[in-house]
């Protein structure tokens, strides 16, 4: 029952998000629009910690390196989904924003008339990965679009 024509996919490459990607590709009709939202969490702004010994040029070099590293990871992720979307005959667009994931999702969801928002489940405790869980408690009251939270994949 593929009836979704315009879907907003929130994915940043974790196992939960990969399950959301697979579900999105199954749900979309051929020719549907897939808008991919990637949120770079603001926690990366804190990743110079309390460094005080380095000089400005070392800190700048580090910041540029970290930005390029995050950018490379995001590009790889977008390229992969783009290829899969094309293979499924979907029209792919992407959006990369810096901020709190829940706030960014709410904001983006209001920009266009999406039929459905798809996201993955939070990572279960004990699983590897960054501790940057998205808070979902504000989503139900703030979204005007149906939200599908895809269950975390069983290994």
């Amino acid at each position: 029952m593929n009836t979704v024509n315009h879907v907003l996919l929130a994915s940043h490459g974790t196992d939960g998000a990969l399950a959301a990607e697979r579900a999105t590709l199954k749900l979309c009709t051929k020719g549907a629009k897939l808008h991919h939202l990637i949120v770079v969490p603001t926690l990366w702004k804190d990743m110079t910690g309390d460094d005080w010994l380095n000089n400005g040029s070392t800190r700048d070099k580090y910041r540029r390196y970290l930005e390029s590293e995050l950018g490379r990871e995001v590009n790889e992720h977008c390229d992969r989904i783009n290829k899969e979307a094309e293979a499924h005959g979907l029209e792919y667009t992407s959006e990369i924003v810096l901020g709190e994931p829940d706030e960014c999702l709410i904001k983006t969801s209001k920009k266009a008339g999406f039929d459905l928002i798809v996201m993955g489940s939070p990572r279960p405790k004990g699983k590897k990965g960054l501790r940057s869980r998205m808070s979902t408690k504000n989503l139900p009251g703030s979204l005007d679009t149906p939200l599908l939270i895809v269950p975390y994949p069983n290994e």
Binding site: D46, G49, D50, D51, W52, L53, Y62, S132
Partner: protein, 524 residues
């Protein structure tokens, strides 16, 4: 982009500072200051001046920021940092003058803790430094740093670096030589040891070379600063950086609280504790914090700890070069000749250390204190107060124990002391200090010798002022650094870095404690 915010925040900060000064000057704070210790309250002099000067500056600049017009440019950028800087300063003032003394009053009302013979605030190191850092951590994690203060919070680095530069005025040549030698041995052994151990453990646990490289720098050299310097060189992945920084911050903050408690339990002196904190604490920011937490009312521990910090940061370019060569060899990505040694050293060299050396060189010329000063104090036996001249009773104690002295130079210096009732020369002072430290004459005579030493040592006015500036610069810097320690970055501690970091951090802390307790005396 215009950085200066049209916010009333700086004006309000200025008014609060002026209010503190006004309340203190008018005597309205008198009863509260009595409650905080009365005559024992040490900050009366500071409250009478510091909030007035900074309050006037904050109020005037605050009025201009709120009602003036601002244009893009360098001045706009610098001006945007004033509000944040004053915000940190106000917090440091409130914590140092009111909150920490209030906690001390509360702690003393509870009595001493068990067999330790210490009050809880002394035992836990709950002084203005620790509480200032904790306040910074609470502000950033509970309320977030306000946007008008963001640029100014970065000034905390400048505060700490300026503090280290001024610290250069307080070392004697002998002290710097001895502490420098000790720190090179300790840091050399423990830095190389922990870098090697992380790389070895990393290989055993099959972690990627990039992760091993960034983790070894962070664990081995100076924590977050080394991670920042090494991450691009070993091409660390973003998640590896996050794991490493999270682990180091968590360890560092934990150590800052635990080290002073352990130091007090072992009854360590400033040299021992400074050497231990300077070696065993992973993150350099917390080294200064722990040193001031251990000895908040003096800077002897800070002086030792900062020599270790300086040695660490001087080692950093060498470790970065080592890791760069190690990484390209392991990954086979390029020829090791592609590592530009000169450029790495130039880029990573800590310029503020040159300032420290310059201030030390200036102090040896006698510009701040006579050149023969020791620990900021100079010898002058013409200024000895009448109350400090040795009494007949004290001379008798020295006479009774004089036959215990074996060395001829000590015998002669002691004889001159007893004859003149005060130390005769700087050479005698050095000899008698050695005699007191050797404890051969017993406790009572030792105390008299130390009293005689103190009577001929005077703190130069400029050095006294430097001490106060240094205390404030470090308090300011550490409150600001507290505002850069977020729980969400500490929460990233995990993965292999947490395991390897935990093992290496613990070994480093315990092994350096053992070395310090066994091999380092307080008489450097």
């Amino acid at each position: 982009m215009v950085y200066t915010k049209k916010s009333p925040a700086l004006l309000i900060i200025g008014v609060i500072m002026l209010a503190i000064w006004g309340l203190a000057e008018s005597g309205m704070l008198a009863s509260y200051i009595d409650h905080l210790g009365g005559k024992k309250y040490k900050y009366g002099g500071e409250i009478a001046t510091i909030p007035l000067y900074f309050g006037v500056v904050a109020t005037l600049v605050g009025l201009w920021q709120l009602f003036g017009s601002h244009k893009e440019g360098h001045w706009d950028y610098y001006s945007s940092s004033i509000a944040g800087g004053m915000f940190i300063l106000l917090i440091a003032m409130l914590v140092r003058w009111f909150i920490a003394p209030e906690v001390a009053v509360w702690s003393m009302s509870m009595g001493k803790i068990g067999d330790t013979g210490k009050y809880i605030h002394k035992l836990l190191g709950l002084n203005y430094v620790v509480m200032g850092i904790v306040t910074g951590i609470i502000i950033v994690n509970v309320f977030r740093v306000p946007s008008w203060a963001e640029n100014g919070v970065r000034l905390s680095r400048l505060g700490l670096k300026t503090g280290v530069i001024l610290l250069g005025t307080l070392y004697s040549a002998a002290e710097l030589k001895n502490l420098g030698g000790l720190s090179i041995i300790m840091i050399g052994f423990f830095v190389l040891g922990s870098v090697g151990l992380v790389l070895w453990l990393g290989a055993r646990r099959n972690i990627p070379n990039s992760m091993g490289g960034v983790l070894s720098a962070g664990m081995g050299v100076c924590g977050v600063s080394a991670t920042v310097a090494a991450a691009p060189v070993v091409q660390a992945k973003s998640v590896e950086i996050a794991y490493t920084i999270g682990t180091i911050l968590l360890w560092g903050v934990g150590c800052m609280f635990i080290f002073p408690i352990v130091g007090h339990l072992f009854d360590m002196g400033p040299v021992q504790f400074g050497a231990w904190a300077g070696t065993g604490i992973l993150n350099s920011a917390q080294v200064a914090g722990a040193a001031l937490a251990f000895q908040p009312d003096g800077i002897e521990t800070l002086k030792v700890a900062e020599i270790f910090n300086i040695t660490r940061v001087l080692v950093l370019p060498i470790i970065v070069i080592w890791l760069a060569v190690w990484y390209v060899q392991r990954e086979g990505t390029a020829d090791t000749a592609s590592v530009n040694v000169g450029r790495v050293i130039f880029e990573k060299f800590p310029v503020f250390v040159l300032g420290f050396i310059l201030m030390f060189a200036l102090s040896t010329t006698g510009i701040f204190a006579p050149p023969n000063h020791y620990k900021g104090k100079y010898f002058d036996n013409t200024k000895v107060k009448a109350s400090k001249i040795l009494t007949d009773e004290q001379i008798a104690v020295l006479q009774t124990n004089a036959d215990k002295v074996q060395r001829d130079d000590r015998k002669a210096a002691l004889a001159r002391l007893m004859e003149g009732r005060k130390v005769a020369s700087i050479e005698d002072d050095t000899t008698l200090r050695g005699l007191a430290n050797s404890k051969v004459m017993g406790k009572k005579a030792g105390k008299i010798l130390k009293k005689a030493h103190k009577a001929v040592r005077h703190t130069a006015k400029k050095v006294k002022a430097f001490r106060q500036w240094i205390t404030w610069l470090f308090a300011f810097g550490l409150v600001g650094l507290g505002m850069q320690i977020t729980i969400r970055s500490m929460k990233q501690a995990g993965g292999q870095p947490a395991v390897i970091g935990g093992i290496v951090g613990l070994i480093k802390a315990v092994a350096s404690l053992v070395v310090v307790l066994l091999l380092i005396s307080e008489t450097i």
